[in-house]
Amino acid sequence: MSALLVLAVTVPLLGLAPLFLLRPGAGARIAVAVLGVGCAITGAIAVQVARTGQALHYFVGGFPPPLGVALRADGFSAAMLCMSAMVLLLTGLFAIAGGGGKAPRMPAAFFTLLLALSSALNLAFLAQDLFTLYVALELLTFAAVPLVCLEGKAGQLSAALTYLLFALFGSVLYLLGVVLVYGLFGTLDLALLARRLAQAPPSGTFIAALALMSAGLMAKAALFPLHLWLPPAHSGAPPAASAVLSAVVIKAPLFLLVRLWSDLAPLPLAQAGAPVLAAFGALAILFCGVVALAQDRLKLLIAYSTAAQIGYLCLMFPLAAAADGQWSALAWTGGTLHLVSHAFSKAAMFLAAGLIAEAMGHDRLSGLAGAGRVAPVSVAAFGIGGLSLMGLPPSGGFIAKVMLLTSAIHQDAWWIALVILAGGLLAGAYVLRVVVIALQRPEPAEAGRVPPARECGARAGIALALAFAAVLLGFLPLAPFAFLSIGRPLSWTGLLP
């Protein structure tokens, strides 16, 4: 039993006390320090998983399932834990690096929500009990929604309310699925449920429960057609909040979707249901990609891009659920890598967009000519982050897309390959559009209105660091990554006493 799992969930909560009891400045610095400790803990978990080659687990309170709640870290969870810890830490540093008027409007609220996000994300990645996952999703929602409207403007409040209502709708659907599962099996532990489901073909009620839970998670993950809440919410939030929302908050429901379909549903059911999810993913990539092209505001463009990129993970489902071991492992690695590299690149792009908007005074694309001179490091960060989005080498996005394409072609899923290529083209179009405009010399009439270069070095450096992290992932070998397969499929022989 590894106590690190518990620490990952509970240590961020310890940072709440200084935020409530001390002055906001001191509390903020302690909060970022706690996020740093969280980074170290998740790194230690990943190292331990890699060294032992097995999943780590912990029975909270000493009660094993089905009575108690289990936490479990396999390779996939460990990768997600490290990714979210790093993005949260860098975003926290970004928020305190901007001193004075550039700091978040309500630092006590901002850092409380950031710490709560850290705890909620870690719980979502580690918990093995369907109801504990429900609590994690609720914690995530309550930490994310106030981030959207921290600045108090009407548009942001409206976006936050829509976000909350969609998220609550998703929660209720998910809970309904949990109720039905308990009514059928009397337990909510993933390992025990998987074992029971392997013994007999799933009943209609279970399929309905799985569909309900998936629909709920789709609403929370803004998968087409339930994506309407995402663009206003992510674009209206302050830059640090947008980065966190698009990079990591949206990944937790997607992770749970993967968990349910790969660990809970028996293989024939997964193979039957995967094309449906992939169809939604394809529609997300194509539809949201086209809408992103038509945007005039930079932050809205990036938000629509998030809605499109979520589709890539759903494309992974039919490829990874196939019976063919080699190509499904490749698709699994590709999908996971896409999740992680998208997190880094999207965080970089949102932070950079925030800095550009701050330096130029607005974020309308039509007026961004000359931004390359005013905020060069930010535009560079945006561009380098965009490399991963477009799928150009060297970047994590490129490796991920190549893996998915290879797997698709070898499994004769031509439509998936076409969608991946089309998505890459669309992403290239909207990223390059922004970069080209930013690097243009402004018209003489406009030149007087372009402010002098006064970019903040530390914050732009953080955005650049995130973009480089996405690029670094491109140096992974083009083969199934063994680390991500540790602990899969759910091997329940070692979990119960």
Binding site: G152, L161, V172, L175, Y182
Partner: protein, 107 residues
């Protein structure tokens, strides 16, 4: 047809009413009420599941009941936050109060 089954069916119908409320609501408050009715229906179904699991000297399976208590508190938090957002949104839309401008320039 036992009493427990009746309550389970009532829960199902309540969930349907809640969905109707969510879809046909005129404004945020109606949607929030619809969400509460839907949640209440789901909890009632869970309660029927709990009552069916009576064994070992207990009148009902305690685990679902504990989960429902957690769910009720979470639903209340959601209602409260949604209502606070709604009220603040209407306040901001109605126009800034006289001391708002002073507050913002003081920052």
């Amino acid at each position: 047809m036992t009493g427990v089954t009746l309550f389970g069916l009532a829960g199902a119908i309540l969930a349907g009413c809640g969905v109707y409320g969510l879809l046909s609501a005129g404004g945020g408050l109606g949607r929030i009420l619809g969400f509460n009715v839907l949640g209440g229906g789901v909890f009632l179904i869970f309660g029927a599941v709990a009552r069916r699991g009576a064994a070992a000297g207990f009148h009902a399976d305690p685990v679902p009941q504990a989960l429902v208590i957690t769910g009720i508190v979470v639903a209340f938090c959601a209602t409260a936050l949604a209502l606070a957002l709604l009220v603040r949104l209407r306040e901001v839309e109605a126009g800034p109060a006289p001391d708002d401008g002073k507050r913002e320039t003081e920052r």
